[in-house]
């Protein structure tokens, strides 16, 4: 694999000493004129058949799933009796897990805000054109994904487990003001976790794309770890339990 994109003109090399040329006569059904031989297929019926097949497949999958598992319906809502645990839907339970470890404004407002801002600005932070349409861009990109993912799993699991065992909030109570325990320390820990791969790539002269790959991987893997922790490892009182030792017969899967 080369680093340069091959010159597109190679399909029909130009001969500069001639002002015209007949290049080739081909029998074909392509409406593309003035371009090299193309590798295209008719949308009708090929793409359409693909889509119909997907439609049938997806519908069948939901059909089977709906036969196998019933949608849950708990007792009627009662504002007087809190359920225990009270969990957000699975796609927000990662945020709920984050709330356990820092000031709610940091976990619930600042971090989600930064993430949405980051997502929206990715194309403007990395405005390279190379390797669009190639998975992980290159072998190097793939290595960055693997290493960053492994690193993030370890770092985030360690952070959650450490804070759960020696609650930073409780340990520092009376020692440091609450804003240190709830804003500065967790904020710094997360900043270091996020920025470490960036600094390493920076020193290795990584491209903007490399850095985006690292940041996005940290984000998505952290979200997965937090979601699994909040969904599977939190039981009554939103306390930590091993999933196979959940008390009171609590089963998070019943609450999907």
């Amino acid at each position: 694999m080369t680093n340069e994109l091959p010159v597109k003109d190679e399909v029909f090399p130009k001969d500069t000493s001639k002002s015209y040329a007949i290049v080739e006569m081909v029998r074909g059904d392509s409406p593309m004129v003035g371009k090299g031989p193309d590798d295209t297929v008719f949308s009708f019926p090929i793409v359409l058949l693909w889509e119909i097949l997907l439609l049938l497949g997806v519908t069948l999958a939901i059909f089977l799933f709906s036969l196998a598992k019933q949608a849950p319906l708990d007792a009627i809502a009662n504002p007087q009796i809190t359920t225990d645990p009270a969990k957000a839907p699975w796609y927000f339970v990662g945020l709920q897990e984050l709330l356990e470890h820092m000031h709610p404004t940091l976990a619930g407002i600042v971090i989600p805000g930064v993430l949405v801002g980051f997502l929206m600005s990715i194309p403007y932070l990395d405005n390279s054109r190379e390797f669009a349409g190639v998975w992980f861009s290159s072998k190097r990109g793939k290595r960055i994904v693997v290493w960053t993912a492994v690193y993030t799993v370890i770092a985030m699991v360690a952070f959650i487990a450490f804070d759960n065992a020696f609650s930073i909030r409780e340990t520092l109570r009376g020692v440091a003001p609450p804003w240190v325990a709830q804003w500065v320390i967790p904020g710094l820990i997360l900043a270091v976790i996020v920025l470490l791969p960036v600094v390493i790539l920076w020193r290795k002269k990584g491209s903007a794309r490399d850095i985006m790959i690292a940041l996005f991987t940290v984000m998505i893997v952290s979200a997965v770890v937090l979601t699994i922790s909040g969904f599977l490892f939190r039981g009554p009182g939103f306390e930590m339990y091993w999933p196979w030792q959940m008390p009171d017969g609590y089963n998070p899967w019943d609450e999907l």
Binding site: Q70, A86, W135
Partner: protein
């Protein structure tokens, strides 16, 4: 073209010719016309590159998200025939759907699993678009549109979560909307606007219902149309641009 008498009679009939502006699509011309003269098929160009159809490139995730949206509209409209968004009747109407409406439980199951599936698939679609670098020029803005679609999808799912009005939904929404109140300064006001009061009640239910069955699905339809139109205007999928022998 070897066309049977039947096909010929059909495609030359007045009714056919009033419906379709093309002949039987067994030749390049009519296959092109099938696409260009049909508003639904016109989402696609007449021909697409083989590379963009490769399964391992896109895993069809965007198409699956679109299909799930369709399943949700279909099953959601069916549920709307029975569901009543009032604190007194919401839960009993859920029970009724499950116990006495023919295929009611099944329709509800389909709606719920398709909803979870759509959130998951949209996230996976975003992950695939990111790692294939398909946000790069000229597709930057379609990525931004995508982020908006992700937020709308989460919103649609979250507002629907309250509607059964059982303990599960009530407390999940209470926990979820509490987060809004932590915004500095405007937090409590924001939560109150969201809930239509200081706690989850009738005003919340009708707000979430309206968002869930009207505002968010319509916004999604609009923005998904824009998204798909731009995929085409940006020259099809980014895979098309990969020179032969790479990727």
């Amino acid at each position: 073209m070897a066309q049977s008498k039947l096909v010929k009679g059909l495609t030359h009939s007045r009714v056919w010719r009033s419906l379709f502006r093309h002949g039987w699509p067994d030749n390049p011309l009519d296959r092109s016309l099938t696409m260009t003269s049909n508003i639904f098929f016109h989402l696609h160009p007449v021909k697409v590159s083989r590379k963009s159809l490769r399964w391992q490139y896109s895993f069809g995730l965007g198409v699956v998200a679109t299909i799930l949206y369709g399943v949700l509209i279909f099953t959601g409209v069916l549920l709307m025939f029975y569901y009543v968004p009032s604190v007194e009747r919401a839960y009993p109407s859920m029970k009724e759907i499950q116990l006495s409406v023919p295929l009611g439980q099944f329709t509800r199951n389909m709606h719920r699993w398709a909803a979870h599936g759509m959130v998951l698939v949209v996230i996976l679609h975003m992950v695939r678009v990111f790692y294939t670098g398909a946000y790069k020029p000229p597709r930057q803005f379609n990525w931004v549109i995508g982020v908006i679609l992700l937020l709308f999808t989460l919103g649609a799912s979250f507002t629907g979560y309250l509607l059964p009005w059982d303990q599960l939904s009530f407390w999940a929404i209470t926990v979820g909307t509490n987060i809004a109140s932590y915004a500095p300064g405007a937090g409590p006001v924001m939560r109150e606007i969201l809930l239509g009061g200081t706690e989850v009640g009738q005003d919340t239910l009708i707000r979430f219902y309206t968002l869930h069955i009207a505002l968010l699905p319509l916004s999604l339809a609009l923005v998904v149309s824009l998204h798909l139109w731009r995929v085409r205007k940006d020259g099809g999928l980014a895979a098309t641009e990969v020179p032969d022998g790479e990727g």
